[in-house]
Amino acid sequence: MIEVKNLTKSFDGKTVLDNVNATFYTGKTNLIIGQSGSGKTVLMKSTVGLVRPDSGEILYDGRDFLAMNTTQIKNLRREIGMLFQGSALFDSETVIGNIMFPLIMFSDMTQAEMLDRAYFCLERVNLKGAENKYPSEISGGMQKRVAIARAIALNPKYLFCDEPNSGLDPRTSILIDELLADITHEYNITTVINTHDMNSVLGIGENIVFINKGKNEWIGNKNEIYHAANEALNEFVFATDLFQEVKNYIISSAKPLQK
């Protein structure tokens, strides 16, 4: 479980995060949602340590991240996997080389064991056969899956995904969402997903934190979101006619949306 308490961050006098509080639960897909520029990426980057917040607390299973020394941070980071918006795969490495990177750097496995583990991760994301391709030779969706495989190679306790669906077609987006949800439940990981894809929100949002203008305005799950009274949330989530109709249907039939 990750707890964020009273997190504040400003850039050049402009407050981007204003006393944000959130809890990300283990074994659940935790979503941070909000409009572009609302501060959700800063919240995620602060949580993983890529941005230093001005004040507040970040607790990883009770361990205060901001009070840790360099060695403790290094050790904690070995428990973290992260999927970046642009996948952030190493161009000079093949798919299998990318997945093996964290294993080479941190595990005491033999070369054969590392290869076994890398192939297992590759199979887990349904990409067997692409091991010798370079990132530039595979599609965006495949790159995301390779990045997921790399992120889970060291069996992380915490998985962060920054807009995993950006630039993907709806079908591939659903596949990535399902993969992330499956991995979260299968390995009991604390998964935090930063998104503004409403399909993801309504599909895999087991714990949703809505950030608006640097403040967390609403916390709930994908079933509760239909009945939320928060105006900014409703404007954001049900902005399109399609999602508005879905909401009306759900409320009128008084049952959660099935896949």
Partner: protein
Amino acid sequence: MLLSHSISSFGKYCLFLSRVFNRPNRWNVFLNRTIFEITKLGVDSIQLVIIISLFIGSVIAIQMQLNIASPLIPAYAVGLATRDIVLLEFSNSILCLILAGKVGSSIASEIGTMRVTEQIDAIDIMGVNSANFLVLPKITGFILFMPVLVAFCIATSFLGGFLVAVFTDIISVSRYVYGLQAMFNEWYVWYGFIKSLFFAFIISSVASYFGYYVKGGALEVGKASTNAVVTSSIMILLLDVILTKLLLQ
């Protein structure tokens, strides 16, 4: 304003170097990456060094003959002057200025692209010191291979002058070769090698610094690459003066 910016940048550069010069996570990975960088930054530069040195060596020999042609100056002085110019300045300072363009821009754009595509963030998130992982092998590899490039440069420059002697009638081969050997000061060779090591460090570290701190997109990567070349060239020239004063006087 400019002074405070320069001091601030220098401080940031020093902090960057303190992150670079750390114990690598895995020595075998560091050695593999160093060998890779030697190939990429060093071996791949040999061709350029040979081509440039051959032509500049020829040009120096021709210009020496044209400029010092006098009955009071012995003919072998062309070989001697060519040798000293090559050993003292061309094979180290001028060569490194050229390499600052090739190697420096390559390093800055590679690391800069990794920064803007979040590859460096990905390395950091895994708990790897990205500055150390990416930059130390480049600095080590380039410094280790620089004497080889200097040696190639010296040899091919002399060869360029030699070819002028062979294929033209402006100086005889025997006098050119005699001039290359006359009044030889071995320290000049060491002086060139020592200077080149400092310059190799500047090229690789300054280019890495500019690439590492890129913010933005492709446009900023291009700017960082240009800034890396300009800054390392200025630093090479400045250090050239200091090292010449220290090593030759």
